[in-house]
């Protein structure tokens, strides 16, 4: 047995030892490396220039007092961050963003899940309902924000007209500091729930029919029992994923603030990206803007890492 295997491997080993073979092998590897890097080269250069240098730059700028256009700058350490967190405007912006996210995420997930469950529970008009509910997600938000402004207009808007018709109190939704954030959140939910719905639909589709059959035979045959025994647990991983993705999208809200409120009234609807934009590009407080960017980046990266952890843990669901 052992002698047979040694005679089998010996010729191979000796041929690899031959200088010619080794050279050919090395040449082959070198050629592959060269090909690979010339194929990936443009992407690599662009990744470095457009992603990695800017990220390092943003950290560097955040530590200086540089103002765009100024010829001098000095190192201020964490001075910008101190200023950022002492700034009432930024604190309001951060609180608003978190508040906005805590409204939009559950709203989007619950509505998206309910609609997905309803669509999947029957067979007719599935594509039709899916299309309607998905529409806002891909419509240009800047343009739709203008439509929303008209809807929420204090006198001629449909919302207030309807409320008046029903004898309910009305509001100047986008100009009242108590209602502006919920109003923006409503637009956020309107925009994202179709996305959540589509992800849930995919999740529902991947639940094997056998599990429902088994539940029927085991006696979990009422709608609520099936939901609790099979549907919801099987949607667990998808739900976690939707949670993070929608949270990321909500954190990155900019268009509606820019078009509808400019952060007002006061700071009532200021959110992180809008602050980042205004400080960096309107007030040209470059160092300050960079610090806001770093704070924003930390939140996004944290959320993404949580997602990666959770998705890794999903294995036992297979």
């Amino acid at each position: 047995m052992s002698s047979a295997s040694s005679t089998a491997t010996k010729p191979a080993a000796s041929s690899a030892d031959r200088p010619g073979t080794r050279k050919a092998l090395r040449h082959h590897r070198l050629a592959e490396t060269f090909t690979a890097w010339s194929l990936a080269g443009p992407a690599l250069v662009l990744l470095v220039v457009l992603f990695f240098l800017p990220v390092f730059a943003i950290f560097a700028i955040a530590l200086t007092d540089w103002q765009f256009g100024a010829s001098t700058l000095s190192f201020v350490g964490f001075g910008n961050f101190k200023e950022v967190f002492a700034d009432e405007g930024f604190r309001a912006s951060l609180v608003n963003t978190i508040l906005y996210v805590t409204i939009v995420v559950p709203g989007t997930i619950i509505l998206g899940l309910v609609i997905a469950l309803l669509i999947e529970s029957g067979k007719s008009f599935r594509a039709f309902y899916r299309a309607i509910h998905f529409l806002p997600f891909m419509a240009t938000l800047t343009a739709m924000a203008i439509a929303w402004e008209a809807l929420l207009h204090p006198t001629i808007g449909l919302v207030n007209q309807t409320l008046t018709g029903l004898g309910l109190p009305t509001a100047n939704w986008l100009r009242d500091e108590n209602t502006v954030l919920p109003a923006l959140a409503m637009i956020g939910i309107w925009q994202n729930l179709g996305y959540a719905m589509v992800l849930f639909l995919a999740g529902l589709k991947s639940i094997p029919q056998d599990l429902y059959d088994a539940a029927d035979i085991d006696g979990a045959d009422l709608w609520l029992d099936r939901l609790r025994t099979v549907t919801l647990p099987m949607l667990g991983p998808v739900t976690m994923f939707v949670f993070i993705v929608v949270a990321l999208k909500a954190f990155e809200t900019f268009d509606t603030v820019q078009v509808l409120t400019q952060g007002g009234p006061g700071h009532a609807s200021e959110m992180l990206l809008f602050t980042l934009y205004r400080e960096s590009f309107e007030y040209l407080r470059t160092g300050y803007g960079a610090s806001v960017a770093v704070v924003f980046l930390s939140i996004v990266v944290a959320l993404t890492l949580i997602q990666a952890r959770v998705m890794d843990k999903k294995v036992h669901y297979q």
């Binding site: 800017p54 309803l118 938000l141 739709m144 900019f254 924003f296």
Partner: protein, 281 residues
């Protein structure tokens, strides 16, 4: 509910399902309907405090004419088409070869490169805008088409998506192509990309939709009206004069939103796949 799952819903439940979905669907559509409705109404009717979808006096021609003539809306649309096309073509040109190298070749530095792609995938583009703005200023491309296109020519998502798809193509296909005398670049364009067409299309839709709709970077990169893509243009139109002149403004909004909606309705499955791409699997 007592009937087995495969038999579908009982009649009352089916009716309930349609009722609820029709109501939520109608609510979802309200902004679209309102937008179109206002775009065909004369100012007098818009400011009347009563609602009807169809105007008493059809004012659509006037509103749409004003939208198309008072603001350079056709120019905005053309800008949008040009910028989105350039971005998606360049992205595929840059990403497909890199994805092929990552999926099918073995070379030192491969893991590092892939790690870079994954890190870049996490970075929200808005965070990079300040340094990119400074970079654009330094090389003098601010306020040009190049400023709108350049930051997006490499897409980490594209590389990642293509790599995943290329990995599912059997190695033997590549070996056969090499034996047939194809160069590595030819393998990328004549074997891998055609075989991965579903992924390419999904990515293209994702890219076009997100850049057609994007406001943040164009707001920073260009000032000239003649360069503005649709979202920025329509915002300028609103700020500039339309203010409360809802008719033309809604007409302009409708024109900006329409192309994607029509494309979506005619290729629903592709859009859903593209916009949730990779997310599901």
């Amino acid at each position: 509910m007592s009937t087995p799952h495969s038999q579908g819903l009982s009649a009352p439940s089916a009716v309930m399902r349609h009722c609820v979905l029709l109501i939520t669907g109608a609510l979802i559509l309200v902004p679209f309907v309102w937008m179109v409705s206002l775009s065909i109404k004369p100012p007098g009717e818009i400011f009347r405090a009563s609602f009807s979808f169809w105007p008493q006096q059809f004012y659509g021609i006037e509103n749409y004419t004003r939208a198309l003539t008072e603001a350079p809306l056709p120019q905005y649309m053309l800008n949008g088409v040009f910028v989105c096309t350039m971005i998606v073509v360049l992205q595929i040109a840059v990403c497909a070869p890199a994805a092929y190298a990552l999926a099918k070749l073995d070379f030192p530095g491969k893991n590092l490169l892939f790690a870079m792609v994954l890190i870049a995938l996490i970075l929200p583009h808005e965070v990079l805008s300040l340094p990119l703005f400074i970079l654009g200023y330094q090389i003098g491309i601010l306020n040009t088409y190049a400023a709108l296109i350049l930051p997006f020519v490499v897409s980490p998502f594209g590389i990642f998506l293509f790599r995943q798809f290329f990995k599912t193509i059997p190695d033997d296909v590549i070996h056969a192509a090499r034996l047939d005398g194809l160069s590595e670049l030819a393998i990328v364009w004549r074997i891998m990309v055609p075989m991965a067409l579903p992924a390419i299309i999904a990515f293209a839709i994702f890219s076009v939709v997100s850049h057609w709709n994007s406001l943040f970077w164009p707001l920073i990169a260009v000032r000239d009206q003649s360069l503005m893509p649709p979202p920025l243009g329509i915002m300028a139109f609103k700020n500039e004069e339309a203010g409360n002149d809802y008719g033309p403004l809604m007409a302009a909004s409708t024109i900006v939103v329409a192309p994607l909606i029509i494309a979506f309705l005619s290729a629903q499955r592709w859009f859903v796949e593209g916009l949730t791409g990779g997310a599901v699997k």
